[in-house]
Subunit: 361 residues, 2 copies
């Protein structure tokens, strides 16, 4: 158990954007929201998964929508709290903790905002160990936990509570409502007991985010190698150093979808990389072959500063390094791949763990 | 106060389809659903508006969606009850009555199904005195009653409860959720007190439906004039006798939208009628001029049998008589026209009461 104050937020948001693999929201917006909430309500208590009582009632709170939309329509700040209140009204028992549904520049800190506002502790964990674009794509689903009842809140004051028959229907209803809400909203869902956390979440994610964020800052101060340090810490590997030559982006169906083309630079001159994304990077094709794919992490970092770059911030001319890192092993199970493997997103490839690439030249 | 048994359903559903002005659902489906519910649970008690205690909690139940979709995907029958239960769970106090939100072949009898299942009395009234396509288009809105909390249920078991900031937002969220539900769903909404009924509903609608349905049957038996009898009873007038020559129909945005072209027959030979509809008939253009428009009732009846024809049942070659009848006077107020007048639906005309047509040749 420890306290999270304003000072830790910059590192947490930055490190979370690394694990967000391009999605999970903008870390700058995330930091601003959390700074305001913690300044107003005081620091937040962070507890480890094994410190949570078995009978605790843990409710993740998160942003849903297209990160591109959230850049234009900033959250008012209290939608997460409103979503939690709407859910609390239909739950048996008092919510005791909140937690991140995913790692991401925004979605790792949304629970800190909720926690500060409600005086709740935050569990040091998240539901994926990365970010994924759809509601059902969480370890909670693999653990048999229902997304519903699910509450959705927008900046205007609308509150929806959904009791869906499964987690895919939760995604469908939440997504279409989010589109009406202006393509971004806050939600509370996947209410679970404390003794379900170990199976349904990745433990220690917030601490890992803070460590990753601090690592980038430290390497940068020391004129070291932030990109290499991140790859090493995550057990991943460098795919390519490249310059962004084209980004095709569309906000459709409540997602930010698109594709980026990158040209190798330096030692990688001549290489051609294509990144396919739906909020998150889902497939990296190097010279026409799949070099890494979901559920493994595809991470785009600024070549010089090591700063993570979200899909909505990708711009022509940026010099980046793309690294790939292994996902939580539960995603590599048949059930995990059926929930978030490459074929789920329409890519006609078999998943290859990033440690054993078949087709890299 | 009186009882509604199976015998009355045919007349009620048929008469309701007359007032439905092309929308409000198919009377045959409506009758089947109500017959099954009343056969299983016994007759339903119908009470007059002035028999409802001031403190009663009255909740309308209704179908929402595109009638075209409901022809292919019949309701399972208990969605209305499920919607009411979902709403009851978030209401203070016990629901004591249900009522029709609109007049229509299906939506006049949905409350009878709910009432039979739940053992509730039905109020002899409806929220419009006709049918309209959108959630906010009810006298309840003019009376300042909120649609929310609104509950939506589908045939699969999904249940949504919406707390929207106004009735237009209720329409937006309910409509997009309905599209996900397969373009038809059941809802419970506009919870109101007994003493709000007089302002928020049209009294006596179910009895009027039964009377209209019986009138058509009696005229037919007597080889009389069912069409003329309906027009006279509603204080309306015959626009034209015509043959349907073209129907353009699309199910879009959760509505059945389209346009029908009709050619005058008999004494009306040479006349050209265009009917514009969004679930309901909203504008009748005779020889290029508006002859009748929303909020007045545009009613299409089979020329021979007087049977009402819904927009989704309009077919090439049908011989029909189109009549127009005055709406409830509250719809003719500035607030009523701002809620459901022709300009709301994009028709660039000023509303003319059907009794004083400006442009009929």
């Amino acid at each position: 158990m420890r306290e999270i104050g304003v000072a830790a937020l910059r590192d947490i948001a930055r490190g979370a954007a690394v694990l967000g693999t391009g999605g999970g929201g903008d870390p700058y917006i995330g930091r601003l929201l959390a700074e305001r909430a913690i300044a107003a309500h005081g620091p937040v208590t962070l507890v480890d998964v094994d410190e949570v009582p078995a009978g605790a009632l843990v409710v993740p709170t998160a942003m849903i929508g297209a990160p591109t939309a959230m850049l234009e329509k900033l959250p008012a700040g209290d939608e997460g709290a409103a979503a939690l209140e709407a859910l609390q009204a239909v739950l048996d028992g008092e919510v005791t903790h909140t937690v991140s549904i995913e790692a991401g520049g925004l979605n790792s800190v949304v629970p800190l905002v909720t926690a500060a506002t409600h005086g709740l502790p935050v569990v040091d964990a998240d539901g994926m160990g990365r970010a994924f674009p759809e509601v059902q794509m969480v370890l909670c689903t693999l653990a048999g936990i229902q997304a519903a009842p699910l509450a959705l809140a927008d900046d205007k004051g609308n509150r929806l509570v959904m009791r869906t028959i499964d987690n895919v229907w939760a995604e469908r209803f939440a997504r279409t409502a989010t589109v009406e809400m202006g393509c971004s909203a806050m939600m509370a869902l996947y209410a679970m007991r404390g003794d379900q956390l170990a199976e349904a979440t990745v433990a220690g994610t917030l601490t890992l985010c803070e460590e990753l964020g601090a690592l980038i800052a430290a390497e940068r101060r020391a004129h070291g190698d932030p990109v290499g340090a991140i790859a090493e810490r995550l057990g991943g590997r460098r795919l390519v150093g490249a310059k962004v030559s084209d980004v095709e982006r569309r906000t459709e169906g409540g997602f930010a979808r698109g594709e980026a083309r990158l040209e190798g630079i330096g030692d990688d001159r001549g290489a051609a990389l294509r990144l396919h994304f739906q909020n998150e990077h889902l497939l990296a094709e190097l010279d026409g072959h799949a070099a890494a794919s979901t559920p493994d992490l595809i991470i785009v970092l600024d070549a010089e500063t090591g700063e993570p770059i979200t899909t909505e911030a990708l711009r022509y001319g940026q010099r980046v390094v793309v690294i790939a890192a292994p996902c939580d092993p539960r995603w590599r199970s048949p059930a995990g791949l059926a929930l978030a493997g490459p074929r789920v997103f329409g890519y006609d490839i078999d998943y290859q763990p990033v440690e054993a690439p078949a087709c890299v030249s």
